[in-house]
Symmetry: C2
Subunit: 407 residues, 2 copies
């Protein structure tokens, strides 16, 4: 029997225990032996559980148990997860986590430390929940230079946007429903403001570019300003609005990262990803466009990704694959102002003629209820900022600005 330890018995942690209980025959076949959690660390106690006697509140019990070769962390937050990750790795144990905050903040440090100590630091569950995405990116697509990654990386916001699109709900009502269903937290800031999606696109971009990206340096905009008029025009244009995390390789080899609501064309599969599901589209210079879809959160899907990593850590020699990324490279991240895209604008107070002057090459979608909607030609965000300022100076009221997800 191979022994692991678990930090945190919340939603994901209890899911890990459930898989270890239910799928032992599968694990035996994959790992060549049974897998058991020798210790579960949690502040709470769970006396009713069959494995209630394995709980501990003391991390050193886990760190100092020589039989434990893999530590699984499902606590969330940077601390104490980071300290315990370091101590686990320094003690010669592989570390598997579902914690995107930890990976986005400290991934480069922990990857380097794990490489030095000859153990695994794995985090498939930190992006896309149960969707296999990091491993395919690190292993199956290795013949490619990644050109772009774009994904629906947050199930809560996708649920809200789906309700707004499919059922005409207002943002606040859809958020309240998401909260009542347990899809959104009491404080939904990290989801609706895009911070969660930003951590995940940083992790994906770090793999794609081989160096660390910090979430606080990435342009991030949430969905709180999306309203029914945006939904209506997007539908008429033939697409949908999704919160997209995107990383692109520019012609100069820089990395253009951003998180924002984007207008997704109806013929792009991402526009069909609804509810709490996630999807990640990866474009490689050789393979072209691929897409990975599945449940982006939830107890068992996330635990499925965690246990998959545990099996890798138990069976495959660390060091057989290159370290996926190193420290941040100065100058690699393109300033958001320089990134080019088309945008959908809703403008009041200016006639179509005037709009075509401020936004040359734009395509007018129509005018109604005192506003005009248009799709601009491709321009950098900085150029668009300047054009919007000019339009405002001429009496225009910019009601919304939504980037178009072009392929």
């Amino acid at each position: 029997m191979k022994k692991i330890a678990l930090l945190g018995h919340g939603v994901v942690g209890s899911g890990v225990m459930e898989i270890l209980e239910k799928n032992q025959p599968v694990l035996v076949r994959q790992a060549g032996d049974g897998v058991e959690a020798a210790h579960v660390l949690d502040r709470r106690t769970f006396p009713g559980l069959a494995y209630g006697d394995r709980f501990t509140g003391d991390f050193s019990v886990i760190r100092d148990d020589p039989e434990v070769s893999v530590v699984v962390e499902a606590l969330g937050g940077v601390e104490p997860a980071f300290t315990w990750a370091r101590e686990s790795i320094l003690a010669g144990k592989s570390f598997v986590t579902s914690n995107k905050e930890l990976v986005a903040a400290k991934g480069d440090e922990l990857l380097a430390l794990a490489a030095e100590k000859g153990v695994w630091f794995l985090f498939e569950a930190s992006v896309g929940g149960g969707i296999p995405i990091l491993q395919p990116l690190r292993e199956s697509l290795t013949a490619n230079r990644v050109v772009a990654v774009a994904g629906i990386l947050n199930g809560t916001t996708n649920f809200i946007l789906t309700r707004m699109f499919a059922d005409g709900m207002a943002f606040g009502d859809a958020l309240a429903e998401a909260q009542s269903l347990g899809y959104a937290e009491a404080d939904p800031t990290a989801d609706v403001e895009g911070h969660d999606a930003c951590r995940k696109i940083c992790i994906l971009a770090s793999i794609a570019f081989g160096s660390h990206f910090h979430p606080q340096e990435v342009h991030t905009q949430g969905i709180t300003r999306i309203g029914p008029r945006d939904v209506a025009w997007a539908g008429r244009w033939g697409g949908s609005i999704k919160l997209i995390g995107r990383a692109r390789r520019t012609a100069e080899g820089r990395a253009a990262l951003e998180v924002s609501p984007m207008l997704v064309p109806g013929d792009c599969l991402l526009s069909r990803v609804d509810g709490v599901f996630n999807a990640v589209q990866v474009t490689g210079d050789m393979v072209g466009t691929t897409l990975f879809y599945g449940p982006g959160a939830g107890k068992l899907p996330t635990a499925s990704a965690v246990v998959g990593d545990v099996i890798t850590a138990l069976t495959q020699p660390a060091g057989s694959r290159p370290v996926p990324w190193g420290p941040k490279k100065e100058g690699l991240l393109q300033p958001w102002e320089e990134s080019a895209a088309r945008a959908m604008l809703r403008v009041a107070g200016l006639a179509p003629d005037a709009l075509e002057t401020f936004f040359p090459g734009c395509r007018l979608l129509g005018a109604e209820e005192g506003e005009t909607a248009l799709i601009t030609a491709a321009a950098t965000q900085g150029e668009l900022d300047a054009a919007l300022d000019a339009a405002r100076a001429a009496g225009g009221n910019i009601l919304s600005r939504i980037t178009v997800l072009d392929q």
Copy 2:
């Protein structure tokens, strides 16, 4: 510089050479060293190529070169590929192939031989072209018992069906167009009759169930009988018709495999996969439903998968993962007659009342142009056969029968 050899310089083989030429920096990062094809076996010669001097017509040159550690095969067909695979593996070389005929016919033997000799036998490119699907199934989803795999596994037929649906073309015209674009061969039998998709679902099912499935034992039906009336009713029902290869785990633990045109509901992403693209939906008992999408064929996408396998073979120790499947297990494959599904029927010569008698619980879609369309209740194929015989005996003319892809 790590040395490989290539068998076959056709579409896929020349794509492999192109990736080795263009993406050396990527390969160096992934493999820790450059990768070069020391020998290319082909009957033809290509004097204009930069690597024209590496061609050989003699396999023993490759087999006996101790510097070659990986042999890539992109010939197609069982022989001589099988013989050369055996000889390569016996010579201690890993073997990477894009050849689904070879894997579907001889996978169990070659996997066992590779395990015995401590080398890799890898074939990511044999299913779904450039889509990473076999490696995620073998590695990322290892915490799961696979419940079902269903996929659009043949780009040629998906192109034809897309043209029939989106543009109202007749089957023959769409096939002719596919041929003129190079998507279909002069003899399109293997594609349009479902044999190609059958090899691929057999490979997927072999991984999912851990034992070999032979294509000739799997119920296989192509798309040649799909006509404009089927297309019209499917659209009205709110779905699409796709050639689906499917493997399901039954309640009794048996494997239900089939290839046939299926009616795919509009809310299933598979219904949105158009043109020559492929997609594979994998349902695991823990993760739920995931989907993998991308280019199912083509020079560089397929070569991308091949080179990904080459990097695995060059960098990771063989034997670090369990052998994905062993020999055929007698009795594991459920006879097709016992597999349960709903079906769409088009029937002439019987009134709706009579149809409801023969197909209890059915849902009538409508009647026009002398035919009635209906969706049956779920029944085994054997039960449906019997009901259809009874309907025929009463004067019914069964115009078509298309299985519904239920989740």
